[in-house]
């Protein structure tokens, strides 16, 4: 286990010299961790790690770490969608993850994480909710994708997106059917191939002055003037979220959308998500 030298412990205030250091180096397109402006930190993924869950993923993006679990319930469908199941995403920023996190109910940051990841999945035709129906109007699957942040080192959203998608792909949910009004198990399982169609990825960029860069690390995130997260599938843009005070020009947005499609394609290929499908018999 490596003992890592920390930049000065970030508590409530970032030092002026650290801020200047980051900005001066960004102007030269240098980042402290030796990355280019459009590079991700190292990504590592472990799937199906939680025995009690019906799908799970332990994802690290640099030192940011999120462990996501998939659980299901069987319940009544929404009245306006009687043949469809439901998939809902939640996030918790655990107090162990950072001295900046406090205990208590979900705050703005955890709600933003959950919603941005949720929208990236929802609008991408990712979870095939029509296949999650056991009996129309009576019984459908409700999937819960619950993300827990174990260590916060910047850019929770992209790590969250990867962990949520991997959990869904590693799913093994008992297949149920109605027999004489009772719910019984067919002996089989619904897996990632059944549940997941498209593979959305969300890419987050930070902006400081007029410099834009991918995958902000913690110090970059804390000093940036704004962020933008763009969710993409192989051929579509499915959701965008801008946050913070910074403004983005039309050209910048067009450039970022184009970049997101390119980087998304490459990342999807490198990560090779379908290897995380499991076979439970």
């Amino acid at each position: 286990m490596e003992v890592i030298v920390k930049m000065m412990n970030i508590k409530r205030v970032i030092s002026a010299i650290e801020k200047n250091y980051i900005i001066q180096n960004l102007r030269k397109e240098e980042r402290f961790d030796d990355r280019g402006l459009w590079d991700y930190r190292k990504i590592s993924i472990k799937h199906d790690v939680i025995a009690s869950a019906e799908g799970s993923a332990d994802v690290s993006l640099g030192k940011t770490r999120i462990v996501t679990g998939l659980k299901y319930e069987v319940g009544e469908p929404f009245p306006d969608m009687p043949n469809e199941g439901v998939c809902t995403v939640m996030a918790e920023l655990l107090p162990i993850a950072s001295p900046l996190f406090e205990r208590g109910p979900p705050d703005e940051q955890s709600i933003e994480l959950a919603r941005v990841v949720d929208r990236g999945i929802r609008h991408a035709d990712c979870v095939q909710t029509k296949k999650l129906c056991i009996e129309p109007n009576k019984a459908v699957y409700i999937l819960f994708v619950d993300m827990y942040v174990l260590n916060y080192a910047g850019n929770l959203i992209d790590a969250g997106g990867i962990s949520a998608l991997t959990s869904l792909i590693s799913s093994h949910i008992p297949e149920g059917k109605m027999e004489e009004g009772k719910l019984v198990w067919t002996g089989k399982y619904l897996d990632g191939e059944y549940i997941v169609k498209e593979l959305p990825l969300v890419l987050t960029y930070g902006k400081i002055d007029n410099m834009i860069f991918l995958d902000p690390s913690l110090p970059e995130e804390l000093i940036c003037d704004g962020k933008i997260s763009i969710s993409v599938t192989e051929d579509k843009i499915t959701s965008i979220q801008k946050s913070g005070e910074a403004t983005f020009s039309f050209d910048e947005i067009k450039m970022l959308i184009k970049k997101s499609m390119e980087i998304g394609k490459k990342l999807r290929k490198d990560l090779n998500f379908w290897q995380y499908k499991v076979n439970y018999e």
Partner: protein, 253 residues
């Protein structure tokens, strides 16, 4: 509505060959793995796998007390927060902490407090956060055990570690280290913890029925199991440093 598969308790907790359902002997522990220094940002941290239990513990402190009114002028305070993730159990748990988690937090606080010198740090707080990612019986004991490691990893002066284990009675037999099924379907459950500086019990709970002889045998079975688990804790604490020593000397000591 019920789940597709429901939590069923088997009728017998021993197999025909006399072993327990997971293949163990009566006094055998489940496989246990421990590691320290696993959460970057924390002042001290540890991770434990015990059977299917997967638990993280992280310590922050000494630091300012929030909210301020809880601060004590003549002593530091210790707060333990034991929480379980929604996906750590068979049926998804509600995210907010329930009464059981709060009770376990209190019980673990009572185990850890006697180890520390809180009077040396007036007006500050030590916080121990325990996150159960995957639960399978004996979680409060596993949580206590890993919390002690996290405190030591933080460099907080301690009189010793504390170690915990649950012993119990299943199908009329006394066994050590109850798994999830054994805990739910068994007849008696006794989680206990020992603080090593005075070799006394700092956690003791009991549910079930037992007679006096069984109780005595229980406690001696527990003592022996606790020593074995203690060895694993010590090794985990030292491993990080010993590995580095070996690495730099090229394998020579």
């Amino acid at each position: 509505m019920p789940l597709v598969i429901n939590d069923e308790y088997p009728e017998k907790l021993f197999r025909d060959d006399g072993k327990r359902l997971d293949g163990r002997d009566k006094t055998e522990l489940r496989p246990i793995k421990m590691e320290v220094g696993v959460i970057e940002n924390a002042d001290g941290s540890a991770y434990l796998e015990w059977g299917n239990n997967k638990i993280y513990a992280a310590v922050y402190g000494p630091r300012e007390v929030h909210p301020h009114h809880l601060a004590k002028p003549d002593s530091g305070i210790l707060r333990v927060f034991y929480r379980m993730t929604t996906y750590s159990v068979f049926e998804r748990k509600r995210p907010a902490p329930g009464r059981r988690e709060k009770e376990i937090s209190m019980v673990i606080t009572d185990c850890l407090k006697p180890l520390l010198f809180l009077e040396l740090y007036p007006g500050t707080s030590f916080e121990v956060f325990i996150e159960v990612m995957d639960a399978d019986g004996g979680t409060r004991c596993a949580a206590t055990t890993v919390a002690a490691l996290a405190l030591a990893d933080a460099g907080i002066p301690m009189k010793s570690l504390v170690t915990a284990v649950a012993v119990g009675k299943i199908d009329n037999e006394l066994v050590v280290d109850l798994s999830g099924i054994e805990d739910k379907a068994g007849q008696a459950d006794l989680p206990c913890a020992i603080t090593w500086f005075n070799e006394e019990l700092s956690l003791l709970q009991f549910d079930g029925d037992m007679n006096l002889e069984e109780m005595e045998e229980f406690l001696s079975l527990a003592k022996s199991a606790l020593s074995d688990i203690y060895e694993i804790q010590l090794a985990a604490l030292k491993k990080k440093y010993i590995d580095i020593q070996e690495e730099v000397s090229g394998g020579n000591s």
